[in-house]
Amino acid sequence: VSELRWHPLLREWVTVAPWRQDRTYHPPAAFCPLCPTRPGQPETEVPEPDYHIAVFENRFPSYTGDLGRAEVVCYTPVHDSSLGAQPLERVRDLVEVWADRTRELAELPSVRYVFVFENRGEEIGVTLHHPHGQVYAYPFVPPVLERELAASAEHQRRTGCCLYCEVLAGEAAGERVVSKDDRWVAFVPPFNRWPYEVHLAPTAHAGLLGELDDPQAWSLAAVLKDVLERYDRLFDRPLPYVMAMHQRPPGAGFDHHHLHIELYPPNRTADKLKYLAGSELGAGAFILDVRAEDAARELREA
């Protein structure tokens, strides 16, 4: 079982899971553990010859047992692909899977937050190239979410309004909008910390993926796919990114939180990465080389 250690200076938990040092590292495609098991070949994590979408407990979990869960979500049986390259219908099915995993894991007694995310690309530290995401069920509310929740709770108390709804209202002029339809909008926030950071949010207030109705879920699938396709056209190569879904925590008292998805590609140009260095890591102060308005225009034109 993982060990939680308290960081008294930052007032946050650090999770220690030493067995993760032995996790599978860049296996050749023929030995991909996320591919279906081919006839006559060694068994993979998915012991069947085909699948639509598969979810399993991580063999090298950060959280397990009474502490929480770490799951892997295989988007497709096809090894050389990506989330953005999936047909719209499959992305829509993934929205349903993400909502279902959130609902189920939130029922575990120790779980305080369910985090759906994807790391894409070696630059981000991905060790398996097969298109997949992950779900962590934490025994605490992670620090970034805790800060967001504190900000939105305080704003709601003070003004009676949803903070993120006001952020969305600030995008009405469209200068930072990348893609949108009637129900979801994708934009580079004016407070972006990564050059091509994009937020996606429903225009109507909702806290969980499971609260979206059918048209909203289709809309999320379409806008997300559109943004990911733009990412790959931006520099004419697969763009690495972290995708972080910020849903509200389980339980009562979090209605002020507005569901949104944050995407952080590490690139600042086609061949240069933004590294987190002294100011960002040592002081927590991000310095940015690209204006949100310029990044949004580039993504609209991609």
């Binding site: 279902d100 909008v177 059918d214 289709w218």
Partner: protein, 49 residues
């Protein structure tokens, strides 16, 4: 809005949103080491008469 038209995917969604998808079918399997594996599958169309 300046060039903020929805992409091709969004246009497709407008059509897709009109049809309500049946929920995915869920199948739970236990792996030999005790970990769970869940298959999410599209329900097969009922056989035509």
């Amino acid at each position: 809005l300046p060039s903020a038209e929805p992409g091709a995917g969004a246009a497709t969604a407008a059509g897709a949103a009109g049809r309500k998808a049946a929920p995915l079918e869920k199948r739970l399997v236990r792996k030999e080491d005790g970990r769970y594996l869940i298959f999410y599958e599209r329900p097969k169309d009922p056989p035509r008469r």
